[in-house]
Symmetry: none
Subunit: 202 residues, 4 copies
């Protein structure tokens, strides 16, 4: 039996993340190795190439689909406002992690190997789909009135994403996350409810 691995992949990834986030993709591997407390050789034993390491470091685990299930489970019952707010908070949290990395990858010029993500739909869009399904379902259930759920979903996620974006890029916040999400949900629902109210009398 050879000697056991004494280097944690996680340690490397953490260091890589930190350095890449600070210096961009042109951060040099030597610095990452130093920051991780590991020899440069080991870096390349654990990850075939710098690009690989970069992608691995920028990868963000899906974060579970619990929120999706919770959201969809609430269709037809409970308070949509609460359901949406809960989902919004969760999404915002996740976007704060996801977006900067996505941005890094996109700006790095590194071409993502297709065989790793075979035709996979990018996360942000997947999320939009989920929201869209929710809106559609509630509309069908007669609890919301939305003319174009898909666009509304885009809009919803967009507002969240932009919040995260402004925060990481400029350190700007128009409100706390909670308030922001609340206002967002409120706006959407008001618009949806109105539609319903108006249509109802007819």
């Amino acid at each position: 039996m050879a000697r056991p691995k004494s280097i944690q992949t996680g340690t490397i990834l953490e260091a890589a993340r930190k350095v890449f986030m600070r210096d961009g993709y042109q951060a040099c591997t030597a610095r990452i190795a130093r920051e991780a407390g590991v020899s440069e050789g080991s870096l390349f034993k654990h990850f075939k190439s710098k690009a690989n390491l970069f992608l691995a470091a920028m990868e963000v685990e899906a974060g579970g689909t619990a929120w999706e299930e919770r959201l969809m489970a609430g269709v037809g019952k409970g308070d949509p406002r609460k359901a949406l707010e809960s989902a919004g908070i969760h999404l915002l949290e996740q976007l704060r992690l996801t977006l900067p990395r996505l941005m890094m990858v996109n700006a790095s010029g590194v071409t993502i190997p297709n065989h790793d993500l075979p035709g996979e739909i990018p996360h942000p869009i997947q999320k939009m789909e989920v929201l869209s399904r929710y809106f559609t379902a509630e509309t069908r259930a007669g609890r919301l009135a939305m003319a174009s759920p898909r666009i509304q979903a885009h809009l919803f996620l967009g507002a969240l994403a932009h919040y995260a974006w402004c925060e990481t890029l400029f350190g700007y916040r128009s409100a706390t996350p909670a308030v922001y999400v609340k206002t967002l949900v409120d706006t959407l629902l008001r618009a949806a409810v109105t539609l319903k109210k108006r249509e109802a009398p007819k």
Copy 2:
């Protein structure tokens, strides 16, 4: 009396933009020079360094403030829906140019020399301010009812930005720009109007 200038700075910037957007900041200057049909030496005669060229290429002229004036001029008169849609279309157009470049700069690891942008407020946030002022003004004029105009502005711009973002990153569009903006404005106004209607009876 000397040889006349035969290289347009614009030509270089265009090429640089193209290459940087494709390959990231690590695009090599040789390629940019070739793409611009210019010698590498000339690149550095026109821009002191690669970083300088990069920033110049990513810089996006404000694009005029006509839309701001038009928007604010409409306060109290005319149809807010039309005013917002017009502004929205314009902003979306601009964001499609601005955002990717902003992202590039941020992810490049190039530190922006402070003396160039002395405490300047980043464009996207400036725009949010304008929108916020508009919402506030219309609310004061009694034509809209918004509890927190600043957040609504954030939300409005966020939806637009995310549209541009999804388009450039994933080639995804939930709708045409016109329809998207229309829906966005509609949502906002419905929510705002509702508020007004409800309060009115009281």
Copy 3:
């Protein structure tokens, strides 16, 4: 545990010396690397920059101070002629190494980092001081008669330095080193002795 060092710093320095002496400071590092049988990258691993390498290559170890001690030890005893000839031969040998390098450094335009030689007195002048002290001591001992030992020291070293200089620059020798030194010492001593003889009768 890691790959053992296989490059001797001395090997690089030797090659650098050879090339720099032939081509001047503008010798290219690639050639030095080739001449040393080493990759260009290794050059810069061992010496931070070309200037560093250059200075290190031109640096000439003091060569010991044995001659100084021997010279000063002979004050008052033994034959001054022999002592001076021995010192002269030694100095000439050393100057042949030192002067060309000193010249190179001075003409290279490379600014020597101060922290390396903090106010250090340049070698040739140090040597002049030693000689000066010797002449003074022997004069005090009544074995030589020199009106201005310091100038005589300058003169002595000057004659040696110029011999080395003419040899390296023009390949010119008015005599073999031994004969040259002998004549030089003879000239100095004759002048010194004369003085004594003349004064003695008084």
Copy 4:
């Protein structure tokens, strides 16, 4: 008739000298042009190449042969001490100009085109020859007693050269030029005279 030359070659040479002396051969032509108040193009109209300009700038006009003639004219008559001191002062003056430039050229790695100086004997050596002839002549005339005039000449010039050298390189002076030369001549003559005196009694 074309327009008359309005650029003085002398102006360029002066500037070149200044810059080359400060920065070594790697001084860039642009700076020389600027310092000379001339366009870079003009530099190359006046001198085929940088190396040419460099050599021209480092070239030092012979400075006349008046001193030689004066020296040789004094053979057999007048005070040798005065003649040698006068020649020494003159030579020292000239060496102060010559040596640094010679050093520059030698360290530059620029190979002097042979067809420009076809087999020409370098100045310092020419001078040694003149001195050597003088010493020989005076010895023949019975006014000096030198066993090896050529070596003594080397020694004489060497002492002068080293003075100039120490001055330019280290800013070191053991005495004023006048005193230094005086001491040098004194030393040589004492040695020579002694010889004569001693031999005479025999």
